[in-house]
């Protein structure tokens, strides 16, 4: 598969999947971070054709398919913090949330196989390459997976919901924590919300009324890191 853009190619080169070939414009190929990397020189139009996007920044690479993780294995650490996205369909939102999760040290991210953005080149780009280091797993049915995850000792599943009665500042987030965020507009599906142990909300003091999913994830995840200390 193709990945494009500076950060995505750089992180693919130092990540888990093999990179078969790198193409770059003459100008980008001369950048110091590519020292020691074999690069085929190509025109910007050729790189745009390979990338199928104008956001290639003069570089793209052919890499092995994205190595999805096993969802259950993400839950192994006793203090695992795992994010789930319920049918988030915009790959840029998926990528932006992956970047938050990777920077915050989350154990991984779980997405459903269907009606969800996958880790495509656009998601890689939006994650600034973070997907190469974060573990991302796909599950057939998110509500079923959450129910099985809860069977593990000391595991709590929190869902983010604007209409929740509990502030996100209330729980102590000890043990294993799974945080589920829904898609912008529709929120969590009812069965997913029902499977959560608790629904929590961020304070909302504005007129527009909601954050996008990546900024909500950032506020909640950094809050959880603070509260669980």
């Amino acid at each position: 598969v193709i990945v494009y853009g500076r950060n995505p190619v750089r992180e693919a080169l130092r990540g888990r999947r093999s990179v078969e070939q790198v193409w770059a414009t003459e100008r980008t190929a001369g950048e110091p971070w590519l020292e020691g990397v074999t690069v085929a020189i190509a025109g910007a139009d050729e790189i745009e054709r390979l990338s199928e996007s104008p956001e290639h920044q003069g570089i793209c690479a052919e890499a092995a398919p994205y190595p999805y993780a096993d969802a259950d294995s993400l839950m192994e650490p006793e203090d695992a913090l795992v994010l789930c996205l319920d049918e988030v369909q915009d790959p840029r939102n998926l990528g932006a949330v992956c970047r938050v999760a990777e920077t915050a040290g989350c154990a991984g991210l779980v997405i459903p196989e269907r009606r969800s953005a996958a880790v495509t080149a656009a998601a890689c780009k939006a994650s600034a390459g973070a997907v190469e280091h974060l573990r991302v797993a796909r599950v057939r049915n998110l509500a079923d997976w959450l129910a099985s995850a809860k069977e593990r000792e000391s595991t709590w599943v929190y869902g983010a919901a604007a209409e929740a009665s509990v502030s996100y500042e209330r729980p102590d987030y000890s043990g294993r924590v799974v945080l589920v965020l829904g898609s912008e507009g529709r929120g969590l599906r009812p069965r997913v919300a029902e499977t959560c142990d608790e629904l929590v909300r961020l304070p909302n003091r504005g007129k527009v009324g909601s954050l996008n999913v990546s900024t909500a994830a950032a506020a909640l995840v950094y809050g959880i890191l603070h509260f669980r200390k």
Copy 2:
């Protein structure tokens, strides 16, 4: 000026600036939130031409120029929380930060006049219309404005910096708080950083090493709302 997209047009209609005309495709014009609004029916290509963007969602409007606020007036509330962006040039990042600031109830946002994205149609779109309710001010020189803002009683200026030695969890954020974020990649300019009372950092546990400016803003602003209680 033109604003485009559903949320931007809806919030412009209920915001501070006058809207002269609305154009929409036949399909979008029939949406219930436009009831009572005079809409000129136009083709998608005409709306794209007016919007100068493919992200118009079938609607755009001619509105008065964006009504920038006076920066000093943002600092009037005794507990004002004001965000500043130091030369953030991507209008989507500016818009995304405006959405965070509006949702979190910030008193406003300050940007420099030069080398900064302004509140353009692209920023309105990325803010989901939040710029119509948030107060955004432009100043000639950000470091100078920060220095003058600090002269006001009980005012503290914090800068976000990955290399800061102080965790963002340390201050109590009482009084008036100004939080300055830099552009992705370059961070705060030296004179801006020197003008801050304290530089603070978010925990970073990943390999990629940074959040984008809107997710960093979300983590910090919601943290400040919590810590200042």
